[in-house]
Amino acid sequence: MSNMDKPYRARADRPAGNLSAGPASLYAARRKVYPRAVAGRVRSIKWAVLIFCLAFYYIVPWLRWDRGPGMPDQAVLVDMANARLFFFWIEIWPQEIYFLAGAMILAAFALFAVSSLFGRLWCGFTCPQTVWTDLFMLVERWIEGDRNARMKLDQGPHGRAYWSRKVAKHAVWVLIAAATGGAWIMYFNDAPTIAPQLLTGQAGMEVAFFFVLFTFTTYLLAGWAREQVCTYMCPWPRFQAAMLDENSLVVTYRDWRGEPRGKAKAAGVGDCVDCYACVHVCPTGIDIRDGQQLECIGCGLCVDACDSVMGKLSRPGGLIAFETLRNLAASEAASMGIPPGPERRQAGMAARAVPRFVRPRTLLYGAALSVVAAAMVGAFLLRSTLDVAVLRDRAPLFVRLSDGGVRNAYTVKIVNKTRDGSPLALVLDAPADFRLTVQDAEGERDGRPLMARRPDGITQYRVFVTTPPMAGLPESTDVTFHLLDAHGRAVTSQRSTFLAPRT
C-alpha cells in the first residue's frame, strides 16, 4: 500500500478529542507550533532563497534608471498618479495593462509547471508567507532560544526574563514588518523621496495608510498566523492538488524502510527510531510519517532533520526525502517480504526509477507557457511608441456647407510614448478635391499642417476635411491620415471614412 492510498491522517499533536462520546466541539484552539532549528542541505538552500528574495524585495525600489529630465529615475515604479508603469527601459501605459496580465498568466503557468514537476516548491521555498515566517522564526530563536527554551519560557514563570524577551522579540518583528510595509510603498513612490518622509512622518495620509496596513499584515501573518495562513486562509494549496500526481516530487516518508518503528538497537525494526526530529522541526507541526497531508507546505526541513539523525546512527539518509509517490509504491512492492535491514533498504532503493518529468500534464503546461511567452514577446516587439487615433465626429455625421460642399470633423489624438516632442505634419490621403484643415495647428511645414506632440503624453487636435460642391460624392469615402516626421517619413497612419449625404 503506497502512501497515496492511505487515508488522510490528522496532525500528530491534534487531540483526538472528537472521538469521545457525544458531539465534538465545533471549534478548536490553535496549538502553538515550536519548530526546532535544523541544519542541512535543504535548510541551506532555503536560507539562500530567503536571502535572495528579501534582498530583491528591499533593494529593487532603490535601483535607478535614467529616463531624462522630468521623468522618474526609479527603475521599477508604479506611478499611479500619472498612470504609468516603469520597468527599467519599458514604460507601460494604462491601455497596455495586458502586458501585466500576460506576465501574471505566464507566472501562473510557470507555477503550474513547477508544481507538477517538483511539488510545492513555491509554498515551501519562495512564497512570501514562508519567507517572512522563516525570518520571524529566526528572530524568535535568537531572542527566545530554540524549541525547548521557548516552550519552557511560555510555560512560565512570567517574570522579567519572560517579558523582556517577549517585548524584544515583538519590537524586532514590528521593525521588520515596518521595513516590509515601507518597501512596498516604495514600489509606488520615489524611494529616496518617500523614505525620509516616512521616517519623519511627513508622508501623506494615503501613503501612511498603506504603510500601516502592510506593516500590520506582515506582523500579523508572519508573527502570529504563520501555518494558519497556509492551512486555513490560502486557496492555492487547495487547488494545487490538481497539479500534482504520482510523478510529482513531494516530501515523503519512506515507510517501507522506516516501519515498523523502534529503538535503534532493537531487532526486526525499520530505520525510523521514532525520535520525532521530523515533527519538531516542522513549521506546520505535522508528522510527515502520517503520509500526504494538506498542511504540509513541502519545505523539506524534516528531510534535513531525519538525515542528521540517520547520519548519527551511521545509516544512509533519505528516510524522508523528495520522492515521487510512484517510486514510493515501487520501493514498497520490491521490498515487501524482506525483513528490515540493509537488504530491504537496497531492494527498495533499487526499484526506484528516474521521475518521469515528461508527461502529458507537464507538456501541456510547457506548451501553454511557451505560447503565452511567445505572444508576450511578439506583442512587445510589435508595440508601437507612437500611435495616432482618428475619431470621426458622430454628431454631426457631416455638415452641409452653404456652397453645397460637405465637411466632416475628426478628433485626432497623437499617443506619444517617447520623450521626443518634435512636431509632426498631418497629411490626408484622399481624393484630390478633399481639403484638410487643422484647428489650432502649430504652423505648417512644406504646406502641411503641423501638430505638436506632448512628450510622454497624448495631444489632441480637431481636424476638418472639406469637399467643394461635387456631383456624385459617394456616401462613404475611405480616407487615411498620415503623420510625417521632419524627414517627411510617415511614422504612423490611421484609416477613417468621410461621410456625405445620400444623393
Binding site: 487515508p7 488522510y8 491522517r9 490528522a10 500528530a12 491534534r14 483526538a16 472528537n18 472521538l19 465534538a24 466541539s25 465545533l26 471549534y27 478548536a28 484552539a29 490553535r30 494558519q228 486555513y232 502520517d290 465626429d393 458622430r394 454628431a395 454631426p396 455625421l397 455638415v399 452641409r400 456647407l401 452653404s402 456652397d403 453645397g404 465637411r407 470633423a409 484647428q439 489650432d440 480637431r462 476638418f464 460642391p469
Partner: protein, 289 residues
C-alpha cells in the same frame, strides 16, 4: 447524502458521514480564531451602524455626522474653488481674447462642451448639428445673425425674439399670403424666383414675374440677389443651407405664413464666464468666423 458516521483509522478523526463518489468528509473543527473573526465582523457592523447613517431614517446621522450628500457638496465646492481662478480670467476676457490664449481656450472648449450639452443641445443637437424645423446647425458656415465671436456672444446673451432682453435679436418676416399682401399666384411666382437663385427654377416665366415681386417685397431685407442681411437676421437665400427646407412647398409656406424661431436670452440665466465658454466652443465647431 449522509450515509454512516464512522471512525477513521488512528489517529482517528470522525467523518461527517457525507460521501460523494467514495470521497468522505472529515469532521474537523474550525479554528477558534476564525470564529472570533466572525464575531468581530458582527461587532464591526454594529459599530458601523452607530458611527455612520446605515438606515435611511430622517435625522439619524450616526455619531460621525458623515453624510454622502454633504461629502459630494464638499467635493463640488473644492472643485469650484480650484476652477475659480480660471473662470475669473475667462469672465473678464472677451471670447476672442480667450481663444487667443491656448490655456484659456482649452479650458473654455472643455467647459463649453459640457454647458452646450446642458443648455443648447436640446434644440441645436449634440455637436451643434441642428435639427429640422428651424433649429440651425452651428457647425456649418451659414450664419443668420453672424458667426464672429462678438455676434455669437451677443446672440447667446440676448436671445432671438426672446422677449427677455432689450437687446434681443429681433426681426419679423411678414405673412405675405395670410395678411393679404400677396396673392397665391404672386407667392408661387416669388417662390420660383427664389428657387432660381440657386438654379433650381422649374418655370422661367413665373420666376421672371416673381423677380419683380421679390424686388418690391423681399429685397429690402434679403438683398437684391438673396444674399441675406445679418443686421436684420434675414437669411441668405442663394446658398445650399435651408433652415426650414429648400423645396418649393417649404418656400411657399415660408412666404405665405412667415417663419421666426425663438431662442432664450441666456444672459439672464448663465454666468458670464459660461457664456464666454459657450461662445468659444460654438465658434470652434467648424463655422466660426
Amino acid at each position: 447524502m449522509p450515509t454512516k458516521v464512522e471512525k477513521d483509522s488512528a489517529p482517528a478523526i470522525r467523518t461527517t458521514g457525507h460521501e460523494w463518489d467514495g470521497i468522505k468528509e472529515f469532521d474537523n473543527p474550525l479554528p477558534r480564531w476564525w470564529l472570533y473573526v466572525f464575531y468581530c465582523t458582527i461587532l464591526f457592523a454594529f459599530a458601523w451602524i452607530v458611527i455612520y447613517p446605515a438606515f435611511p431614517i430622517w435625522g439619524l446621522r450616526g455619531t460621525s455626522g458623515w453624510i454622502a450628500r454633504e461629502a459630494v457638496v464638499e467635493q463640488v465646492r473644492t472643485a469650484e474653488a480650484a476652477r475659480a481662478p480660471m473662470l475669473d480670467r475667462i469672465r473678464k476676457a472677451t471670447p476672442a481674447q480667450i481663444a487667443d490664449d491656448p490655456n484659456l481656450r482649452a479650458f473654455a472648449i472643455a467647459g463649453g462642451r459640457t454647458a452646450f450639452s446642458n443648455t443648447c443641445a436640446g434644440c441645436h443637437g449634440a455637436g451643434g448639428q441642428g435639427a429640422a424645423g428651424g433649429f440651425p446647425s452651428l457647425a456649418d458656415d451659414d450664419w443668420i445673425w453672424g458667426g464672429s465671436y462678438e455676434a455669437i456672444h451677443f446672440t447667446i446673451t440676448n436671445g432671438i425674439r426672446s422677449n427677455e432682453s432689450d437687446n434681443e435679436r429681433q426681426s419679423m418676416m411678414p405673412r405675405f399670403l395670410a395678411d393679404g399682401m400677396l396673392t397665391a399666384a404672386q407667392v408661387n411666382d416669388t417662390a420660383e424666383f427664389v428657387l432660381g437663385l440657386t438654379g433650381r427654377a422649374t418655370d422661367q416665366t413665373a420666376a421672371e414675374r416673381g423677380a419683380a415681386v421679390f424686388a418690391d417685397q423681399c429685397a429690402a431685407c434679403h438683398g437684391a440677389r438673396g444674399e441675406g442681411n445679418r443686421e436684420l437676421g434675414a437669411p441668405r437665400l442663394s446658398d445650399q443651407v435651408w433652415l426650414y427646407g429648400g423645396d418649393k412647398a417649404s418656400i411657399v409656406q415660408s412666404i405665405s405664413y412667415a417663419r421666426g424661431g425663438v431662442m432664450p436670452a441666456w444672459g439672464k440665466r448663465l454666468d458670464p464666464a459660461l457664456i464666454n465658454m459657450l461662445t468659444v466652443y460654438v465658434h470652434s465647431l467648424g463655422g466660426g468666423e
